[in-house]
């Protein structure tokens, strides 16, 4: 952990406490609303995925299921910066991002349950959440394979002379795959409005970053592509917002991409098949990381600043649990896809 702390200190001294604007005491009710929204988003993701684990154990969710628990500040902070007409392309650890972007818990849970009312009609599952209406372009299952797609979306924005931004999420293990390098090179070469977000949870499946990546300072890869790079303590939702705010503005106004390392932790295993600790990471390491739970950090801060009573927190939490229960009930009641859907959506029968 020493290197992480050192890098964090270096970042602070270099940039100053740049997050004062968003992270300091709120000066308006808008700021308070923002904080509540961020907390609400993170709580919804957390409660939703806790029930996912339960549903998986019950056999209601099958296949692979990768939980995002511990990383929620990245999705909540990022989505709070984006406009409705921006785009998101992500990997298979996508539930939290989908919810934070505004996909309905019902549609996401029904997809996980393999039901016809799922966002992808039960054909995609956990790894392939899509919702065109909110610019959520998947949910992709091949590590790094979706990074060029994000560059392509950004290419299309430039092609149409638009001012949207495409944000691409992937894990730190993806920085070693060719697709990452090919996409970043072209994004910079062609001035594409993209933000590439490395969610560094320190483990690619069960392989620690130190065992996989020669230079653990993964944001340093940005320099190879003449791109701005940044490393962020991503358990702090305000730090996420600050970094994303800068990157999104740079993309929107100047068409320049950024690579951001979001330093985070996943509190669960890679998928449902591995224990949270005991094999490739120690119990002590996990417990240490959980002290920096992004929800607790925001909750503590709001409580200490008198913005949220324990009663209000409990109420907010209960509301999210109720939303998740509703999503569960909806998914449970949704029919399985009719068998004729097996052969639909293979091709469209239209031309243009």
């Amino acid at each position: 952990m020493t290197d992480v702390i050192e890098r964090e200190e270096a970042r602070k001294s270099k940039k100053g406490m740049a997050n004062k604007k968003n992270g300091g005491a709120p000066d308006s009710s808008d700021e308070l609303t923002l904080r509540r929204d961020l907390l609400r988003s993170m709580l919804l993701q957390r409660r939703f995925e806790e029930r996912c684990a339960e549903a998986y154990a019950l056999g209601k969710i099958g296949g692979f299921c990768h939980l995002y628990i511990g990383q929620e500040a990245i999705s909540a902070g990022t989505m709070s910066i984006l406009r409705p007409d921006d785009y998101i392309v992500t990997s298979y650890r996508d539930h939290g991002q989908a919810l934070a972007r505004g996909m309905t818990p019902r549609a996401v849970m029904a997809e996980l349950f393999g039901r016809v009312d799922g966002c992808s009609k039960g054909k995609g599952g956990s790894m392939h959440l899509f919702d065109k209406s909110v610019g959520f372009l998947g949910g992709h299952g091949i590590v790094g394979g979706h990074i060029p797609l994000a560059a392509g979306v950004a290419w299309a924005i430039k092609y149409r002379k638009g001012d949207q931004v495409c944000v691409c999420f992937f894990g730190e293990a993806a920085v070693n795959i060719g697709a990452f390098h090919e996409a970043l090179n072209m994004a910079s070469l062609w001035n594409l409005p993209a933000v590439f977000v490395i969610e560094n949870n320190r483990y690619g499946m069960g392989t620690a970053i130190s065992r996989a990546t020669a230079n653990e300072d993964v944001q340093a890869r940005a320099a190879a592509y003449r791109m701005d790079g940044e490393s962020v303590d991503a358990q702090d939702v305000f730090a996420v917002r600050d970094a994303m705010g800068r990157a999104v503005e740079l993309a929107r106004k100047e068409g320049r991409p950024t690579l951001i390392e979001m330093r985070t932790f996943r509190f669960m295993g890679h998928s449902m098949s591995d224990a949270a600790s005991g094999t490739y990471r120690s119990k002590e390491e996990l417990e240490e990381s959980m002290k920096r739970d992004p929800i607790l950090l925001l909750h503590d801060r709001m409580r200490s600043e008198g913005q949220l009573s324990d009663g209000e927190f409990a109420k907010l939490d209960e509301e999210q649990k109720a939303i998740v229960q509703d999503a569960w009930d909806f998914a449970d009641a949704s029919p399985e896809p009719p068998l004729e859907n097996l052969m639909t959506d293979v091709l469209v029968d239209t031309t243009s």
Partner: protein
């Protein structure tokens, strides 16, 4: 009708479709300033500018993915691979992304795009540059796979491919670019998935596609002198495959040879034979014979290369064998 090269027919198709729809763009290595490695995009940069005719770094996986991403939000990319041998690096984008996006998104994201470039062997390019990929690509649901053998088909089918709202793999014959043929004047398209009987015959069917269509026509000419009448069925599209056209021909001739450029095992011919045995079991007067490349990587030496390739003498021998003349 005008006589054009296969290359010029393709260029015409690109020019017409780029003019027709400003969502269409061409992207690939050397397509713009260099005018294309095989000159298919000659002159298009000057006409359409650098946002529509886009040179890329040598990064097949990356620019194929850029195409997929741009198609997700409504553009209509034409991704050129300098050859399909290099496209192997991009197959994740073709197979895992383009072919499956519509399905795994529950119908939300069609992929109106074309992956095109030269396919198959040329002359003495040896193992890594002499491969026919259609059976690999035709295996994948969610793709359409086109293998034009003539200039007229190349133009009409490329225009259809660009207008199609699905991902289309368009395999051009590397040795066909300089071949000439009559091409209809003015606007026309050819439907994807329809075979064409290139020559009517009554004694034996040759079912083929792509570059091998020319070989089949030579075979038919040669055998005509021996009073053997060959029906040449050009599949033109190998996915979806025109099973009806195959069946009609075999029901007429009762004998079939399947001629393809690629290797035997799991090749296109295996699929054609499967259709024939199901649709025409009672019509056959002889087992169906396949003609294909030798089951080895392509050698460099002229004599070995000649021995490896499917060609007219091998196809003639096959026709005679199914006619019990050999």
């Amino acid at each position: 009708m005008a006589v054009l090269t296969y290359r010029d027919a393709l260029t015409q198709a690109l020019r017409e479709e780029l003019s027709r729809d400003d969502r269409v763009f061409l992207m690939g290595e050397e397509v713009a300033q260099y005018n294309g490695a095989y000159k298919v995009s000659k002159g298009l940069l000057d006409e359409f500018g650098p946002m529509r005719i886009v040179d890329t770094p040598i990064t097949e996986l990356g620019f194929a993915g850029i195409g997929v991403g741009s198609a997700m939000v409504g553009l209509r990319p034409i991704i050129e691979f300098m050859t399909w041998n290099f496209a192997l690096l991009a197959l994740d984008q073709v197979v895992n992304a383009a072919a499956k996006m519509l399905y795994m998104s529950g119908g939300q994201f069609p992929m109106p795009m074309v992956f095109r470039g030269p396919n198959g062997s040329a002359l003495q390019l040896s193992a890594q540059h002499s491969q026919a990929w259609e059976s690999w690509l035709a295996h994948i649901p969610g793709l359409k796979v086109i293998t034009p053998g003539t200039p007229a088909d190349a133009k009409g089918l490329l225009k259809s491919a660009i207008r199609d709202d699905n991902p289309v793999v368009f395999l051009e014959g590397e040795m066909l670019y300089n071949t000439k043929g009559e091409v209809p004047e003015g606007e026309y398209t050819i439907p994807i998935g329809k075979a064409e009987v290139k020559r009517q015959g009554s004694d034996c069917s040759i079912i083929t596609h792509g570059k091998m269509v020319l070989v089949a026509m030579q075979v038919a000419d040669t055998l005509a002198k021996e009073n053997i009448s060959v029906d040449v069925v050009d599949l033109r599209t190998v996915r979806p495959m025109d099973v009806e056209a195959i069946a009609q021909s075999v029901q007429k001739t009762n004998r079939a040879v399947v001629l393809e450029e690629g290797w035997e095992i799991c090749g296109m011919g295996a699929q054609v034979v499967d259709f024939i045995q199901r649709e025409c079991f009672d019509d056959l007067d002889a087992p169906v014979i396949r003609v294909h490349q030798a089951d080895a990587p392509m050698p460099y030496a002229k004599n070995l290369e000649r021995a490896a390739k499917a060609d007219a003498p091998k196809a003639i021998a096959a026709v005679k064998k199914v006619m019990y003349l050999g």
